[in-house]
Amino acid sequence: MITSVIFFLFAGLAIACAISLVYHKNPLYSAISLVGVLISLACIYVTLAAPFIAAVQILIYAGAIMVLVVFVIMLLNLDEDKPVVNRLPHLYAIGGILGLVLLAQTFFIFYAVHRAPKQAVNTDETVGKTLSIGAGMYTEYLLPVEIVGILLLMSIVGAVILARRLEYPQLEIVVDNELERRNESEIKDEFRIRL
């Protein structure tokens, strides 16, 4: 009873926040909505007896990744999105068809999974505990963990190289020429000085 109340409460919240994420033009509002989705999903994970995943979801997604995104939005002081100009109109049709396909898939899954177990096969609550996850991680799934470790190392190096300031601004010379060619008057000098 309580499980279903919590599930439908947070499922509704997740869907509402997801719609608001897509609807809002201001990136900061989108980010707040996404944090809402992430926290609702963490609560749903708790009802699925996965407390470790729920805690990690809040810690990594809401606490690290989205803080970084909010930080970047504040740092760049982004304005609202420009209204979408009517370019490439055929994409709308393709997008609509794609959306319908996805929706159809959703309903197909909804229909097909009725044959799947209604109740949990095994109400063994230890599956979501830290111990079983750790044991699985360092025995059966050691190779994926190592690969993820290397991936993280690569991303650290990549992020440092991408985000540093160039001592010799070779790139910026190219871009300056490009900007002159584009002859855009709305570009403010102060931005170039600050960044």
């Binding site: 499922a11 869907i15 897509v22 982004l78 959306g99 096969v121 599956v127 991303s155 871009v175």
Partner: protein, 101 residues
């Protein structure tokens, strides 16, 4: 109505669809990034639901992997956005056209 596996999968499908729509309609690189995160989360929900209903820890482990990949993606992606913003004063994906001509 007690939530069953189908309910969780339906929720995941709805979230995934909303995320995909967002990626198509948003022109802001950060907005698209966030919609992709939403899609990843929808997939994570199916992993956890299957893991619960089949009492197997594999699904939760792969959620962990997906989160690590998302963290790596965030670090590199935001680095790219900052570098792009330094050059273009915008993170509109339509402005990323330096190779066009």
């Amino acid at each position: 109505m007690e939530p069953s596996l189908a309910t969780y999968l339906a929720l995941s499908g709805i979230l995934f669809t909303i995320g995909a729509t967002g990626v198509i309609f948003k022109r802001n690189a950060l907005g698209m990034f966030m919609c992709i995160e939403l899609m990843l989360n929808a997939v994570n929900l199916t992993f956890v639901a299957f893991s619960r209903y089949y009492a197997d820890v594999t699904g939760q482990l792969f959620v962990f992997m997906v989160m690590s990949v998302a963290a790596a993606e965030a670090a590199v992606g935001l680095g790219i956005f900052i570098a792009f913003f330094r050059n273009r004063i915008s993170i509109d994906v339509d402005d990323a056209n330096i190779l066009k001509n």
